[in-house]
Symmetry: C2
C-alpha cells in the first residue's frame, strides 16, 4: 500500500525561542541544529534574520546538512512593494533555502495589531510570496490565528490560504496561535479548508494551552494536512508548541499512522530520541521531565503492584511500544527477582558482568535497598551506583581516605568597615600511607571543600585535573532544615562525559562532601581502566621493543 509523505518542520530555534527564560546564543543555535537534524526532520526554522544580531549571524551561512534551512519573517510592510521592503529583501539575501512568512488570518487582528485593512494585508501577502518565490526560495506561509480567524470570518481566513497558494507558496501553515482550539474543531475546520486547497500544501502549527498540541497536530493529519510544525521537548511560548519528541515516535511506531504515512525518520533516528531530548534539556540547563512520553525516566517505569508480575511475563502487557525503539530503558521496581534483573542491566552499563545467581548480587541488592530507604536514590546518580557496586563486589581500589575536614563561613566587617564573607576549608587525606593536608578558600563551604580536596591528592592529582563540577542540587527529604538532605553533584571532564553522584546526610555539608568524594572516586575508577591499559600497553611496547 502506498503511503503519503508527512513532512516535519522544527521551529525550536524560532518559536521555541519565545519561551520564558530561554535565550539562545549563536553557539547554542549551531549545536541545537545538529540535535534537530539527528531526528530526521525535513525543515529547520533557524530564527528571524534581521530581528536580532544572533539570528542575523546564524543566517550568514547554511547551517543544516540534510534539512531545509528556513528563515522566518514578516510579509512586506504596507506602502511599499516586496521588492523594495528591506525586511523581505534581508530574508531573500540570507543563506536560507526556504522562507516562512507570517500573515494574519484573523480580520480583527489585522485592524487591531496592524491598523490595516484585510484587502491591503492579503495583497501584501500575495506580493511577498510572489517575490520570494521568484527569487528562488521555497516559500512557506504561517497563517497566524487561523482557527480563531476562521471562526470569526471564514471567508477572509480561506482567502489567505488560496491567495498564498496562487502566488506560489509551497506550504500554507494553519496556526492555532492562542492554543485554545479543540481537536474536534481542528478536524472540522481543516475539512472545510480542504475544499479550497490540497492537503499536501497544508501544514499545522498547534500550541499546548489546553494540553492538546500533539492531539491537534494528529487531528489535522487525520483530516488531511501533510506538514507538522513543532519543537524539541515542546519548547515554546506560554505552554509550548507541539512536542516533536512525542509526535515522531507516534507517527513512526503506531500502526494507525505508520500504515498510512511515511516520514524522513528512520529506525536509527528514533533510537537516538531519548538521547536527543535529554541532551537538549542539558543545553537549556533544565531537568528532563521524568514523565515525558517515550523519553522520560518514568516512561517505562513500573512500580510494585498489580501490574508488575504480568509485565514480567510479557512486556507488551503494560508497554505500548518497546523502550529500546526510542533509546529509553525499562525500569521495574518490584520484587527481589525484578530487582536483580534491573541490577544486572545497570551493572552491565558499567562493564560489570555477573551471573544471575552470584551471591554478591543479593548483597548488592540488599545494600541498595537499605540505602534507598535512608534517602539515597540511584536513578539519577549512576556514578554513585558504580562506586557502590565496585565497593560491595570488592573491586574498588582504595584510592584515598579522608581523615578529617573542617569548613568555616564567617560574615564580619573588615578593617574598612565593609561587610565581607570569608569561607575556608581544611582537608586531611591519606594517600598510599602518606598524610596530606590542604587548605583553600571558596565561594561557599562546598566550593572550598572541593578546592581543598583536589589541591593535593598525591599520585592521583594528575588524573583529576580535567574534572569539574557542572551542577549541584539540594533537596530536603522530609521538609525543614532538621530533616535529611540529599545532594546531587553533576561532574564532567575533558572527554565530555557527565556523571552524577549522590550524598545523603542530616548535614548538608556531609552530604555534599560525600557526593564530591564519590565524583572523584568515579573519575579515578574510570581513569584506572585507562591507566592500567596504558601501563599494559607500555609494557607490551617495551616487551616488543625489547
Amino acid at each position: 500500500m502506498s503511503r503519503d509523505r508527512l513532512y516535519l518542520f522544527d521551529t525550536t530555534l524560532r518559536d521555541g525561542a519565545q519561551t520564558a527564560g530561554v535565550e539562545f546564543s549563536l553557539e547554542d543555535k549551531i549545536a541545537i541544529t545538529r540535535l534537530i537534524e539527528e531526528l530526521g526532520v525535513d525543515y529547520v526554522e533557524g530564527g528571524y534574520p534581521g530581528a536580532n544580531p544572533v539570528d542575523t549571524a546564524f543566517f550568514e551561512e547554511k547551517r543544516t546538512k540534510s534539512a531545509t534551512f528556513t528563515a522566518f519573517g514578516m510579509t512586506k510592510r504596507a506602502g511599499r512593494s516586496a521588492a523594495n521592503d528591506p525586511g523581505v529583501q534581508g530574508l531573500l539575501n540570507s543563506a536560507a533555502t526556504a522562507t516562512c512568512f507570517v500573515a494574519k488570518a484573523w480580520d480583527y487582528q489585522v485592524k487591531l495589531a496592524l491598523g490595516s485593512t484585510t484587502e491591503e494585508h492579503i495583497e501584501g501577502l500575495g506580493d511577498t510570496v510572489r517575490t520570494a518565490s521568484g527569487a528562488g526560495k521555497e516559500v512557506l506561509v504561517d497563517l497566524e490565528h487561523f482557527f480563531d480567524g476562521f471562526k470569526a470570518n471564514p471567508e477572509y481566513a480561506l482567502s489567505c490560504v488560496t491567495r498564498a497558494i496562487e502566488a506560489g507558496a509551497r506550504w500554507v501553515v494553519l496556526c492555532d496561535t492562542n492554543g485554545g482550539t479543540m481537536p474536534a474543531e481542528v478536524r472540522q475546520i481543516v475539512g472545510t479548508v480542504l475544499k479550497f486547497a490540497p492537503g499536501d500544501k497544508l501544514g499545522i502549527h498547534p500550541h499546548d494551552d489546553t494540553g492538546q498540541a500533539v492531539a491537534n497536530a494528529l487531528a489535522a493529519v487525520d483530516a488531511g494536512v501533510r506538514q507538522i510544525q513543532g519543537t524539541l521537548n515542546g519548547l515554546g511560548e506560554r505552554c509550548g508548541n507541539a512536542n516533536l519528541i512525542t509526535l515522531i515516535p507516534t507517527l513512526v511506531l503506531k500502526p494507525y499512522y505508520a500504515e498510512r504515512f511515511e516520514t524522513g525518520v528512520t529506525e536509527a533516528h528514533l533510537e537516538r530520541l531519548t538521547h536527543i531530548s535529554r541532551a537538549f534539556d542539558d543545553r537549556l540547563n533544565r531537568a528532563p521531565a521524568r514523565q515525558a512520553p517515550y523519553v522520560g525516566a518514568s516512561a517505562f517505569a513500573t512500580k510494585a503492584g498489580i501490574h508488575a508480575s504480568a509485565l514480567l511475563k510479557d512486556f507488551s502487557t503494560y508497554e505500548h511500544v518497546p523502550p529500546e525503539s526510542v533509546g529509553n530503558e525499562r525500569s521495574i521496581m518490584v520484587s527481589q527477582q525484578a530487582g536483580k534483573s534491573n541490577l544486572l542491566t545497570a551493572l552491565s552499563r558499567h562493564g560489570i558482568v555477573l551471573e544471575k545467581d552470584d551471591p554478591r548480587l543479593e548483597k548488592l541488592l540488599a545494600t541498595v535497598k537499605e540505602r534507598e530507604a535512608r534517602g539515597y536514590s540511584y536513578d539519577g546518580a549512576d556514578a554513585s551506583f558504580a562506586v557502590l557496586a565496585h565497593s560491595v563486589l570488592g573491586t574498588l581500589p582504595s584510592f584515598f581516605d579522608v581523615e578529617h575536614y573542617r569548613a568555616m563561613v564567617e560574615r564580619r566587617h573588615n578593617a574598612q568597615g565593609e561587610e565581607v564573607t570569608v569561607t575556608e576549608a581544611v582537608v586531611k587525606v591519606r594517600v598510599e600511607g602518606e598524610l596530606l593536608m590542604s587548605v583553600a578558600e571558596g565561594n561557599g563551604p562546598v566550593n572550598a571543600l572541593d578546592q581543598a580536596l583536589r589541591k593535593d591528592l598525591g599520585v592521583y592529582s594528575k588524573r583529576i585535573e580535567d574534572l569539574e563540577l557542572a551542577d549541584f542540587k539540594v533537596r530536603i527529604l522530609d521538609g525543614g532544615t532538621g530533616a535529611v538532605t540529599r545532594v546531587l553533584v553533576e561532574s564532567r571532564d575533558g572527554s565530555g562525559e557527565r556523571w552524577s553522584t549522590i550524598g545523603v546526610s542530616s548535614n548538608i555539608i556531609d552530604a555534599s562532601f560525600e557526593a564530591l568524594y564519590e565524583s572523584i572516586t568515579y573519575k579515578l575508577l574510570k581513569t584506572e581502566a585507562a591507566s592500567v591499559s596504558a601501563a599494559e600497553e607500555t609494557l607490551q611496547h617495551a616487551t616488543a621493543v625489547g
Copy 2:
C-alpha cells in the same frame, strides 16, 4: 438548551499513587482529599483498602464531604463466591459509598496474568457487581486494557461491558491501560460500544503515554461517554493519567464543551485551580511545571516580541481564556507599563495600595528588575517581595540587625575513635540598641544558624515562637559550585500560613542566611499589625475604663 451532565472522577490517591517516587502517608491522603474536593469533582477514589495499612486506615471512616467516597479493589477470586471472598467483603465493609472493581477486558491478559478463562472471569465480574450492588454500594467497574482488548477480541471486551451493566454497575469505565491508543481510535471504539450500552453509564480512563490523555478523554466525551477519570496534575504510573487540572477548565470554559455539558465545577471552584495545582506539588515536594496548561507560571506569560504590543491592546489576542478565571496571573515582560500593573496586583495581595503614578512604584520596579537580573525570583517568594516592597516604600520597621555570624562544620574522630560531625554557629544581633550574642549547634550550618538566630531576639523572641521551617530548596543558577546559589526557604506558623523567602549569593550559607532573615522579618511584619492593634485595643480599653 439542556446540557448533559458530565461526571468527574479523581483517582489521584489510587492510580496516582502508582507514580515512581510518590508515597502517600495517611495525613497526605487526608490533606489531598481536601484539595481534590476544592475542585468540585464528583468522585474521590481514595485507594485500595486491604492492599496496605495506609489505605486500610484511610477507609476506616468517610473522608469526603461532597464527593462520593470510592474504594478500589479486585473482583472476586476464582473458586469462591463474592459473598465468601475476603477481598470483596473488605471493600463492602469499608466506609466507602462506592466501590470500583477492576476486571480484565483483554482475553490474552486473563490467560496470561490470571491463568483463568474468559468465561470464569466474566462470571466473577457479574457475581462481584451483583453482590456489591446488593450490599448497597454504588458500583463502578474499571475495564482494564479495554481498547487493546477490543482490538484483539471485540466480542469478549463488549461482553464485559454488558455483563457489568446487567449485574447492576452504575458505571463501566473503559481504560486505556497502556496509554497507547490514538484519539481517533477511542472515538471509533467508543462509537461501537454505544451500540451496546448507554453513554451515561460509560466512563473513560486514559493514560498519557503518547501525550494524549486529555485528548483521549475529550474524544471519548465527544463520542458519548459521560464520566472522566483523571488525577491532579496528571500524576500516575509511567507518563501519568489524564490531568484533571487541564481537563476541568477546558470543559467549563471552552464553549465547545460548556455549551453541551455541565459538571459539578463552579466558577468559584475554578478560581482555586492554580492554587490547588501548586499546593499539590508542594505536598509532593515537586517544582510546579512552569508550562502547565492554565496553571503554569508561564501559561499566560508573553515575552517581549511581536505578540506583546497586540496583547496590550486586547488580551484576548493571545490568551485563549482569562488568567483570572483559573486563579492564574498574566505575566508580560515587555515594558515599564506592563511591569507596573503586575506590581500593583502583587502589592495589593499584601494590603499595600499605591496610586499608578506614585514615584515609589517606579523605584520598586527598578529594584525588582535589578534583583531579578542578579538571580532573585519573586514568583515563588512572595514574603520576600513583601519585605522588599516595605523596605523600598519606607514602611519596613527596623526590627533587628545582624552584626556578625559564623558557622563551622567539622568532621573528625572523637575520643572513642568514632567519626563525628560537629556543627556550630554564632550570631551577633543588635535589637533596639542592645547587642545580643548566641551560639547553637545544629544538624548543618543552616540549621545551626537558624537556631542561633532565634535563640535570643530580645523583645521579638515571643513573636517568633511558633515560626518553623517547612522546606529548604537550593538551586545553582549557572551550574557548578562556583556559580550563584539561590535558596528558597518555606516557613509556617501556628496560624497555618505558609510563606516563602529567597536568598541569592555566590555563597550558599549567605544565601540561606538571607532567606532565614527575611522569613523572620516577614513573621515580625505580619505580627506587627496584630501587636499594634492589640496595643491600640489595650489603650482604648484603658481609656474606656479610665
